[in-house]
């Protein structure tokens, strides 16, 4: 058991060192950097919430985090299957689960760090803006950024990165092109499910990510039409449910990688 854990961390360290020098990480960095760059350009010092709502909810959580996570998570196995180097890894006395989990750790670490940094770069300047009391329009665009927003946005972004990375990693143990299936899920299925009224949206990851960001209170987000009539879970409940989903995906991934035969044609 101890050796399996050590091998998991060795696999994580090695994959991390490879990823840090890879074009994949550069691509993820560029994608994630879009959010703070756009935020810096669009920021309105008098109405910080006006740009923060679309940048956090729409751009970061719904588009950039899924993209970054799926791109990074699909490196867990797909590259080795494509390059036919999987044979070397699977004929070594390392548990396949250690290999999978180690690589997942490396991918998640990168994606979560980048997204959390991006969220801070967006949230911190906006939170620092002082809205004069005479301009306060409760619920309006001049509403100051809710207290604790930056921290919750960082947590939600990191969770979004981790969830979509895990999804892609899990898919990579099952299908040859996890990114295609992942994109299909994130941008076709989930886009619909997450924005349907009623309880259907609870079947999407986006619902819980929004729950982390809003912590059950719409606050300054109540002017944002797509979500104004929705009810959200508290931060704690959202984190718990997403964590359970992540563990389930990881368990499925480890079971699949241990049992599946990967055919590498000559």
């Amino acid at each position: 058991m101890q050796s399996a854990i050590a091998l998991t961390f060795f696999s994580a360290g090695h994959h991390l060192s490879l990823l840090l020098r890879s074009k994949r990480t550069l691509a993820v960095l560029l994608i994630v950097a879009l959010a703070p760059i756009l935020s810096a350009v669009a920021i309105d010092p008098e109405r910080p919430m006006r740009h923060l709502i679309p940048v956090s909810l729409m751009l970061t959580l719904s588009i950039l985090a899924p993209l970054a996570g799926l791109i990074m998570g699909s490196s867990v196995l797909s590259e080795d299957i494509e390059a036919k180097t999987l044979t070397y890894l699977f004929t070594r006395p390392i548990p396949r689960a250690s290999l999978f989990l180690g690589r997942w750790i490396a991918c998640t670490l990168i994606v979560c760090s980048l997204l959390a940094i991006a969220a801070w770069l967006i949230g911190h300047p906006a939170s620092s803006i002082h809205v004069p009391p005479d301009q306060l329009d409760t619920g309006g665009p001049a509403t100051p950024v809710p207290e604790g927003f930056t921290g919750r946005f960082m947590l939600a972004s990191a969770f979004a990165g981790a969830m979509y990375t895990t999804l892609a990693a899990g898919l990579s143990t099952w299908v040859r092109r996890p990114i295609v299936f992942g994109l299909g899920y994130a941008f076709v299925l989930e886009m619909v499910v997450a924005n349907l009224p009623g309880s259907t949206q609870r079947m999407s990851m986006q619902y819980y990510l929004r729950g982390i960001l809003l912590d059950g209170e719409l606050g300054g987000f109540k002017r944002f039409n797509p979500i104004r009539k929705m009810e959200f879970l508290s931060l704690q409940d959202s984190v718990t449910r997403l964590s359970i989903a992540m563990v389930v995906l990881l368990v499925l991934g480890t079971v699949l990688i241990r049992r599946k035969q990967y055919l590498l044609s000559n």
Binding site: A83, K84, T87, F90, P93, I94, R258, Q261, N266
Partner: protein
């Protein structure tokens, strides 16, 4: 290990409707065993079953007494050099071998030592600090060999290990294989070139279209092959009387006239034919100018054995 290192019983593996291996029952003893067969014979499928990358569709397989699929205990005792030309391109040869050793649980220092030793044994000591993506085909082949033997396994499974090597490297590789056997290791070496395997080992397993065609010593296989019809082309001034005389020979199956000055003779027993030919030439005086015998190519030999 005494007794067979590999025991296959009614082993079959198919990919959808394509048969990779069919009803293979064979036992492989320690030492070097040549796995021979034309392309598509099932050699790679058999090897992938041996190294536990695939599960049998039917039948059973034991390697070093163990079920091979994803068996970590087996991987400590087994080294595999796959046929496909894949390495971790951005790593140096040394890093590549060392990384795989680390995955096997070796410490950094021991992995480095073993990797350097393995690269040295395959003749890549001078190039081991270069990135794999800059390696020639032969160097890549040798790097695959190095990673297979670096952890000192007792069984090495080598899929077409001589492909891509120049004659000098090929000889060095063969010497290395013999050294490994002298150290007590067992090797399973696949090839589709008969003479390549023949010069390495006495023990051959012949596969064809996913089935076991023959297993035994080279001598036994040769005996089987000796009945394979061979062709001899003779260029002479007087081909017609020569053809008539040759047709009278018991082991000559057919004589075909090609143009005015050549004959294509098909015989069941090549050696007997060559023993008897001088007497015929002396008697007929056909004015022989040239004589060539096509080497039996493996594909046609296999086809013959299947019939």
């Amino acid at each position: 290990m005494s007794g067979p290192i590999i025991q296959a019983e009614s082993l079959a593996r198919w990919y959808g409707e394509v048969i990779g291996l069919s009803d293979l029952s064979v036992e492989v003893e320690p030492g070097i065993t040549g796995l021979l067969g034309p392309n598509g014979a099932g050699k790679s499928t058999f090897m992938r079953l041996i190294v536990g990358e695939l599960r049998p569709s039917r039948g059973s397989l034991r390697v070093l007494g163990m079920d091979p699929f994803a068996n970590r205990a087996l991987y400590k005792r087994l080294g595999f050099a796959p046929q496909q030309d894949a390495l971790f391109e951005d790593m140096t040869g040394l890093q590549f071998v060392r990384h795989l050793l680390r995955l096997g649980g070796f410490s950094r220092s021991e992995a480095t030592q073993r990797a350097a030793r393995a690269m040295d044994r395959v003749g890549l000591a001078d190039s081991m600090d270069r990135a794999c993506k800059g390696y020639s085909k032969g160097m890549r082949q040798r790097t695959r060999l190095a990673q297979a033997m670096a952890h000192d396994p007792e069984l090495l499974v080598l899929d077409e290990p001589l492909t891509g090597l120049d004659p000098v490297a090929r000889r060095q590789a063969m010497d290395l294989f013999r050294d490994l056997v002298a150290e007590g290791k067992s090797l399973i070496v696949s090839s589709h070139v008969l003479h390549e395997v023949q010069s390495l080992t006495e023990t051959i397993v012949l596969l064809h279209r996913g089935r076991l065609l023959a297993k035994g010593s080279v001598g036994e296989i040769r005996k089987l092959l000796s009945n394979h019809p061979r062709e001899v082309r003779i260029r002479a001034h007087r081909t017609r009387p020569l053809g008539t005389a040759l047709l009278a020979m018991e082991h000559v199956r057919r004589v075909e006239l090609i143009g005015e000055d050549s004959l294509l003779v098909r015989t069941d027993q090549l050696e007997t034919f060559f023993e008897a030919l001088p007497a015929v030439i002396e008697r007929v005086q056909p004015g022989v100018e040239a004589m060539t015998s096509s080497d039996a190519d493996l594909e046609s030999v296999f086809d013959f054995l299947v019939q």
